[in-house]
Amino acid sequence: MDLLEVKHIAKHYKNFDLQDISFSLPAGYIMGYVGQNGAGKTTTLNIINHLIQSASGTVTLDGRTYDDAPIPYRDQIGYIGDASYFPANLTLRHIRGILRDFYPSFDPARFDRYVADWNLPVKDRIKSFSRGMKVKLMFASVLSRDTRLLVLDEATNGLDPVVRRQILELLQEYISDGSRSVLFSTHILEDLEQIADYVCFIDKGKQIFCEPKEDLIERYLVAKGGPKDLTPELSRHLIGITKNDFGFEALYDTDCGIVLPPELVTDRPSIDQIMFHMIQKMR
């Protein structure tokens, strides 16, 4: 059984529709959830966190929906947002007290260890913390509990490379025992290349693909050629063609049924390139 199962969720707003999103994430893996700004990533994560209600479909965590058992559902999720979500006028000591009051699995000693390791000020108000400190505090608050799923919404944005690297290491350590997973929404595709096992890509509220990262990289090739190499027949089968003075670049699906002419140069794509050409195709 998958740890997280999202089936046909949807949300309708005045200017935006999230449509029929479905994916599943087995225990022990990291999924990158990617898309442009306004694609619907945060909306999806908010539905999983049950901060907003889906118009249809279900979300199950370890086989249970929120309605089945609201307290264990929330207890098993650790959420880290793109900005600090702690009340700004509280101190770290207050946060520790709140976590102890609400989460049965909260381990104060583990929390104190993270606080000491990361030199977080105990007596200062959170509003005086730097962005890096706030992110570390969010991580300390979720890692000092026995969660099964970490949901990260652009959590590494705006962080310096050292902190980002530390966080990526933490995430890999988090899933290392094979019982926990991470759902990771990000713009920084470099992070995704490093740690994601699955990639889920959405655009304008629609799911474009959701596959293991290795399968994606195996399936697609980036093809480059001169202006004369781009025949109409080839154009029909290539994805997201971009042209410049020297020729063109496009994504080639190895399952599309044609063989590329030998004069084209091909290479394994990065996630960034796959996303870019997919978006080009849709525009």
């Binding site: 966190n49 901060l51 929330r74 609400f102």
Partner: protein, 215 residues
């Protein structure tokens, strides 16, 4: 149990009980140096502060905080019940402080007396009803517009304070007849009914917002 924990978070966030202490001091000063209004106005002054304090959990709530506070494991609606419980406690403390102010000013100016004591629990009950309406408005019509929010927070407290003053000034006969009927037991009875109504309306508010998005 969870609603108590949420009320505790509201207390930590707003730290309103510390500034609430200022109001009985002001009430004592008012009673010591002025003859306007008398003991009843002094207690309504503290209760007016209690109404303002009771709306603070809604006023200090930010969208960002939802990622933490709304993610805390609890039964659906416990966070809202916590806000309402906080409002109840704020008004209870404000009324208690008002009574303390009356006792202190009674010692300083014995000729003032304690006023119509049976009326104070009734005033407490009325403030509870105003708070519950105010909090329901703040829950259902939460607005991004700070001025609209400010208005929703200010109208009930000012309506109570100036309404009580106007009633005593312009309808003294009606107030007199009511005070003649009112005994301490009847006063506490009215307050108890208001407390029950407060609880029922809180529960109704929770039920009506059950399927509402938290963001």
């Amino acid at each position: 149990m969870y609603m108590l924990k949420f009320a505790k978070i509201d207390l930590l966030k707003t730290r309103s009980f510390s500034w609430l202490l200022l109001f009985p001091v002001l009430a004592v000063c008012m009673l010591s140096f002025s003859n306007d209004g008398g003991p009843t106005m002094a207690i309504t002054y503290c209760q007016f502060a209690g109404i303002i304090a009771s709306a603070l959990p809604f006023a200090t709530e930010t969208r960002e905080e939802c990622g933490f506070l709304q993610m805390l494991p609890c039964h659906p609606g416990d966070d809202l019940r916590g806000h309402f419980l906080y409002g109840f406690l704020a008004e209870l403390v404000a009324t208690f402080l008002g009574c303390c102010a009356l006792l202190v000013s009674g010692l300083l100016r014995p000729e003032l007396g304690l006023g119509p004591v049976a009326l104070y629990p009734v005033l407490f009950g009325i403030t509870l009803l105003l708070i519950v309406v105010q909090n329901m408005l703040l829950t259902f019509f939460r607005s991004e517009n700070a001025q609209v929010m400010q208005l929703m927070r200010m109208v009930p407290s000012f309506a109570f304070f100036f309404g009580t003053a106007a009633l005593m000034e312009h309808l003294p006969d009606l107030v007199g007849r009511f005070l003649g009927w009112l005994t301490l037991i009847r006063g506490f009875g009215i307050a108890a009914v208001c407390c029950v109504l407060y609880g029922l309306l809180t529960q109704l508010c929770v039920m009506l917002t059950q399927r509402k998005d938290l963001l």
